[in-house]
Symmetry: C2
Subunit: 131 residues, 2 copies
Amino acid sequence: MENNILEKVKYNHHGLVPAIAQDVESGRVLMMAWMNEESLKLTLETRRAHYFSRSRKKLWLKGETSGHFQDVVDMALDCDGDTILMRVHQTGAACHNGTFSCFEQPLLESEEEMGGDSRVLQELYDVIADR
Amino acid sequence: MENNILEKVKYNHHGLVPAIAQDVESGRVLMMAWMNEESLKLTLETRRAHYFSRSRKKLWLKGETSGHFQDVVDMALDCDGDTILMRVHQTGAACHNGTFSCFEQPLLESEEEMGGDSRVLQELYDVIADR
């Protein structure tokens, strides 16, 4: 399967493809970074997320210096082959700022205090706590 | 808040920024597409996801022809300001292929039959069902 599907990955003109990391336990989207062919192959082989740093222009094993590795559970390619989604076990914090997710700057707030998914989980916990 | 934070959005040299859409009920990552400044502003104003189609080179209200709108619950910018995350209520299917998510081509399968999050939820349901 892998060899076949790997041919479907469409790299941009810099030879890079965006990869989204999602925490498998919480479902939270952690970060989006870029992979070249080498980092994608290393990620598939080692089941640890490897990216390509556009600023440092080099292969980058996530967690290499921080210890905050991303152990990959599964990976999927999108319909047009130009974006990768990884579900990972995140050790520590995904963000170099120390937050669990990199998406911590609100652009638009929820109209309700709590979003739908949090509410559903909260209700589940309440049901369990009540019993 | 919005005006201030909007200045932090870093568009690439095509004037675009990637935007990830996540379904707020299931937590599933649905798709990644691109926004220009106009589509970002329209998304913030209308709370409906607008993108910029790179192939058609035009503004694109998601669901305009299919009816599969994405109603935005909240939006966040990542630490370096170059990726947006939207949590949405997805009407119908996010993918033009008819699947709920665009990420349907496996690149790497889970080593277990079920991923961690499914297992946790399954255990929660089992606890509730048992009582």
